[in-house]
């Protein structure tokens, strides 16, 4: 299974983390530190896999951002690499809140949905609702504003 997902910038700054195995906050920082020092120092043409504490970290760099996933050694590394790509492609089609998209793709450290359209559909439905709520709220506040005038 996937134990966690990290997005790290080239400078080692964290951009997104999601933990599927519980790690206490202290340990998280340590993990992030270790992983980024592992991943960021690797040359361009090397494997996209690194061993770490008996796990495998699969990473891929897009522009200045590293997408890292930590998996069990028995998992298929290439597949994980493609899950990362899958995620990035969906991000690409729908650029927005990376968390919600990740939630639609992965649940509990397993790949949940490999259908891009389905993911997008869900995320957009959710967003549509958000928009509707927003409009309602703003119109409501307009009404209130007008009423109080």
């Amino acid at each position: 299974m996937i134990h966690f997902v990290l997005l790290i910038s080239r400078q080692g700054k964290v951009r997104l983390t999601k933990w599927y195995t519980p790690y206490p906050q202290k340990q998280r920082s340590k993990v992030i530190k270790e992983i980024s020092s592992l991943v960021l120092t690797r040359g361009p043409k090397l494997c996209n896999f690194v061993e770490w504490q008996g796990y495998r970290v699969v990473y891929k760099r897009y522009a200045s951002l590293y997408f890292c996933m930590c998996i069990d050694p028995a998992d298929n590394e290439l597949e994980t690499l493609q899950i990362i790509h899958h995620y990035v492609e969906i991000l690409d089609r729908y650029f927005g809140n990376a968390y919600f998209i990740l939630d639609e793709i992965l649940i509990a450290g397993e790949l949940q949905e490999s259908n891009k359209k389905a993911v997008l559909r869900l995320v957009t439905t959710q967003d549509a609702l958000v928009e509707a709520a927003k409009e309602a709220a703003s119109s409501l506040s307009n009404i209130i504003a007008q009423a109080t005038k």
Partner: protein, 967 residues
């Protein structure tokens, strides 16, 4: 791609434009993005947290504003800061009526908390309520959060609703419900065990997404208990077939691949189900063949599927055609320029050699390349492969390499792993005691604190007892060489504690044994050790005990020795030590000095360390004392279990105690499956999954080999602990060896001729020989570029050092010897070698010719290679190579490439214990080779010579190489 880059850039800058966040938030994100140092970032976040704390404490924050504050909190916590003050607000927000806020609440809660957190109890109720919501998006949000937050205790609270949701009209909900149930299963298998049939139902879901999600829990369940799901094999195969035939909606395509992630999951499941089950495997071959045919090696995802196919094929009941396809794909991986593919190739090779060890030969240079690659990941993977193919003939090279690599790594985790592997290999395959001790010294010197202390004790025992079966002279030689090496090393700074313990013990026990060193010299050394390690009480204790022993031996011999001043100081110091243990040892020493010869002899007999101490666990010697006490009216002993029962009848408090104990009991019941799970994974991580149990070749051999195959467990010893796997073991042994693997003898030669001859002879797998031949040709072309050193390494890794003839001649002797030594050396490591050894003679003669090819290739072309070889091989192999009588030459030919053939138990039991059959094979191979090739030896010889002329620059010193290899 360009688009992706833009995305990446935008993400990297953290811009989240257009999301309705306030300027404050955007500014925060921007300033973090622009922060030049971690300190600056920390400052910004600290300021932000202060701000957020104030804002959140304000009761009048509008709800929409609250949402943003929470997101900022998430951001701060993600960057590693403590935002626990805000967690309760996230929990509160999950109660919100409005969906966007609720979702944000759930998101934040899921990111902040985990199942062990105290606040989760407050969320469970909300989740319960939301799971019943009419709005499916609310249900989805609740399910997602449930996956993260519901721990073992809370499962019953939400379980009914989740199960209900499995039949929800919306596929998104069904899917999430399946995943939630899976998560619950992972947390606590027993609490959902009655519900697993639901997964079966969901497998037939109309929506491919739900079906795909169902594969995840099913995989776990099947891993746990494959036999309960054998009935699904046909369904899985059908699904896989349909997926591969593009019957799923094209929106599941990924880079023109039909639903690859589902395919991979299915392949994983099939691998488990087909392992050790010929019938189940039979259903799979067709679809696996289809997938291989359609395999797309151009895309990553295509390769991922192919890799999974290889894993599956190496796990299920072997099929020659499948294995061939797998081997072909593996070689494509290895030849690829991409490091990723090479990595996968090495891994795949590690799986395939378990079934057919010969596959690796073709790739020896690729493997060496990977071993020398600057990429650490690749290197480690290659070490893993080498670890799997280690045996007594190449153990020296491999372990030396491992140690060399180990010295330079700083990663403790990996260092521990590789050190323990070195120890394991050395214990299992050590060619000589001397080498073993030297190797262990190196391991202890560089990673002494990382290896299990048990290993140190093992080493001491080994030095004390020798290897058992040899004469006393060899043992004492072993000891004195150990003493010599330790005296050399002992002065070095920074030796690990466990190593020093060994040194002190050995010096004390055997330092003066051979009379080479005087007692005072050894005592001086031991004093130095104790002085140099003031803080380490254990080392000091070992040192003082060592000194004590030396004194005792000297006194027993009737010699008088003077107390060295430094020793006196040490004793004085230790008798005033804070450690009572050290004190006692010091006083014992002083007391001993005052005793006469006879008393010392009986107090400290020489070589007492080898005596077995029998522990009387029943303490029967106390019986009379107990009896006496009982007669005098003492209360009888009540076992602990009964005692707690008696007490708990009493007060409320003890009742509670019992409750807790009942609770712990129940807890244990839950925990039970976990170890086996962990074990399963650890097994996999060691790449010896149960599925890799290699079937024992010929059905006919099974009965005859029963004895030997029993003594085979080696790597699978662990799996033997499990009933299921044990059973599997038996089943597998009943399988006949497929035609493919019966080509073993032939392919153990690296030559085309051999391959041809061999594969023709069993009529299978001959198709690839052409391809192989061509690949070989190209390899020869590259020959010039291959450095001599590399070749040497290849030869020492892949070429077997001992001549086959030698082995056959010595077979019985060696077998018994090795058997004995292995048993002595490690209780755990059963000895597959003795059986192994005997496989080799099967290899047909052309072996030699081509074997010669690798290492000889550096020799001057003018010389007659065979006479040269003969000379090199010396009396062991001597004669027959050129004589051309294949049958004879087989028995004598040294098989340089045979390592692979006897690497794995498969080959091992392949039953050459039955000489007749072996011979039949042999002759068959030989005759076919002759038939196909005419004067095959002549032919091969010529080919060999040309190859050398064309391919490789002669570099000379190969005689040395050969001596290294064969000597």
């Amino acid at each position: 791609m360009e688009q992706l880059r833009t995305i990446g850039r935008e993400l990297a800058m953290g811009s989240q434009g257009g999301w309705g966040q306030s300027k404050e938030f955007l500014d925060l994100v921007k300033s973090i993005g622009e922060a030049r140092s971690k300190a600056e970032e920390d400052r910004i976040i600290a300021r932000e947290l202060e701000h957020l704390k104030r804002r959140l404490a304000d009761p009048d924050v509008p709800r929409r504003k609250m949402k943003e504050l929470l997101l900022r909190l998430v951001y701060a916590e993600m960057l590693g800061h403590d935002a626990s003050f805000g967690h309760i607000h996230a929990v509160k927000m999950t109660h919100d009526e409005s969906l966007p806020l609720k979702r944000t609440g759930y998101l934040a809660v899921a990111l902040f908390l985990d199942e062990r957190h105290d606040l989760v109890i407050l969320v469970v109720n909300t989740i319960q309520k939301d799971l019943r919501s009419d709005n499916y998006l609310v249900v989805c949000a609740a399910l997602t959060a449930a996956c993260r937050l519901i721990g073992e205790e809370a499962i019953p609270a939400v379980l009914p609703q989740v199960v209900e949701l499995l039949a929800h009209p919306k596929e998104a909900v069904r899917k999430k419900a399946v995943m939630a149930l899976h998560r619950f299963y992972q947390r606590s298998p027993s609490s959902v065990s009655h519900l697993v049939s639901n997964f079966r139902k969901r497998l037939c879901d109309n929506d491919p997404g739900v079906m795909g999600a169902t594969l995840c829990p099913l995989y776990d369940l099947i891993l746990e208990e494959p036999n309960a799901y054998k009935d699904l094999v046909v369904s899985f195969v059908n699904i896989l077939k349909q997926v591969a035939e593009r019957r799923l909606p094209t929106s599941y395509d990924y880079h023109q691949m039909p639903a690859p992630f589902i395919q991979i999951k299915l392949l994983k499941i099939l691998a488990v189900l087909g392992s050790g089950d010929k019938q189940a495997s039979g259903h799979m071959y067709t679809v696996l063949g289809d997938i291989f045919r359609k395999g797309d090696t151009a895309s990553n995802i295509g390769n991922a599927i192919l890799y999974e196919c290889i894993c599956c094929i190496s796990s299920i009941f072997p099929n020659p055609k499948m294995l061939e396809a797998a081997a072909e794909t593996t070689s494509k991986f290895l030849k690829s320029d991409s490091h990723n593919l090479k990595y996968m190739g090495i891994d795949a090779l590690g799986r395939l050699i378990k079934i057919n060890p010969d596959i690796a030969e073709e790739h020896q240079l690729a493997v060496i390349d990977c071993l020398e690659d600057p990429d650490d990941t690749l290197k480690r993977k290659t070490f893993e492969l080498l670890y799997k193919m280690t045996k007594s003939t190449n153990v020296e090279v491999i372990v030396d390499r491992m140690i060399e690599y180990m010295i330079n790594i700083t990663d403790h985790h990996y260092k521990t792993e590789i050190a323990s592997r070195c120890v394991e290999l050395a214990e299992q395959f050590a060619p000589s005691n001397q080498w073993f001790i030297q190797t262990m010294n190196k391991v202890f010197e560089h990673a002494g604190d990382l290896v299990n202390i048990r290993v140190a004790h093992n080493l001491m025992r080994l030095i004390a007892e020798g290897f058992g079966e040899e004469d006393e002279g060899a043992d004492s030689q072993l000891r004195s060489s150990a003493v010599d090496s330790y005296l050399r090393i002992v002065g070095e700074p920074k030796l690990p504690s466990s190593f020093l313990q060994i040194i002190c013990w050995v010096l004390g026990e055997y330092g003066t044994a051979d009379g080479k060193y005087s007692a005072s010299y050894i005592i001086g050394k031991l004093c130095d050790v104790a002085e140099a390690h003031l803080t380490d009480d254990t080392v000091k204790a070992y040192a003082i005990s060592g000194i004590l022993k030396i004194f005792a031996f000297e006194i027993a011999l009737g010699r008088k020795i003077d107390m060295l001043p430094e020793c006196q100081t040490l004793v004085d110091e230790l008798s005033a030590s804070h450690s009572t243990d050290l004190q006692q040892r010091a006083y014992e020493l002083q007391a001993l000095l005052g005793l006469d010869k006879r008393a010392v002899e009986s107090a400290m007999p020489a070589d007492a360390s080898c005596e077995d101490i029998e522990v009387d666990r029943n303490l029967s010697f106390l019986n009379s004392y107990v009896q006496q006490a009982l007669e005098n009216g003492a209360a009888p002993y009540i076992p602990e279990s009964e005692r707690s029962g008696v007490i708990s009848v009493g007060s409320y408090k003890s009742q509670e105690q019992q409750e807790t104990s009942a609770h712990t009991l129940r807890f244990e019941a839950y925990e039970m499956p976990k170890p086996s799970l962990a074990l399963a994974t650890s097994q996999v991580s060691m790449s010896t999954p149960p599925t890799d149990l290699v079937p024992v070749p010929d059905p006919g051999y099974y009965k005859e080999d029963h004895q030997t195959s029993r003594s085979q467990p080696s790597g699978d010893a662990i799996s033997g602990e499990f009933g299921v796997k044990l059973r599997l073991d038996g089943v597998q042994k009943k399988w006949g060896r497929p035609t493919y693997s019966s080509s073993t003898p032939s392919s153990s030669a690296s030559s085309q001729q051999a391959t041809n001859g061999g594969s023709y002879s069993d009529g299978g797998g001959s198709t690839s020989s052409q391809a192989r031949e061509s690949s070989y040709g190209s390899k020869r072309q590259q020959g010039t570029e291959i450095s001599a050193e590399k070749q040497r390494l290849a030869a020492s890794l892949f070429g077997s050092a001992a001549a086959k003839a030698d082995r056959k001649a010595q077979a019985s002797r060696k077998a018994s010897k090795e058997n004995a030594s292995a048993e002595k050396a490690t209780a755990s490591s059963a000895a597959p070698q003795p059986v192994k050894e005997q496989v080799i003679p099967e290899a047909p003669p052309p072996d030699l010719l081509d074997l010669g090819d690798e290492p000889v290739s550096s020799s001057p072309p003018s010389a007659d290679p065979f006479s040269q070889l003969e000379g090199l091989l010396g009396p062991a192999s001597a004669t027959p190579v050129v004589s051309g009588a294949p049958a004879t030459s087989t028995s004598k030919a040294p098989d340089l490439m045979s390592i692979f053939s006897d690497d794995v138990p498969t080959g091992a039991t392949s039953g050459s214990t039955d000489p007749t059959l072996g011979d039949v094979n042999l002759i068959k191979g030989a005759t076919t080779a002759a038939a196909k090739k005419g004067p095959s030896l002549q032919d091969a010889l010529q080919k060999d010579a040309t190859a050398r002329q064309v391919g490789v620059t002669p570099t000379g010193n190969n005689p040395n190489l050969f001596k290294d290899l064969l000597g």
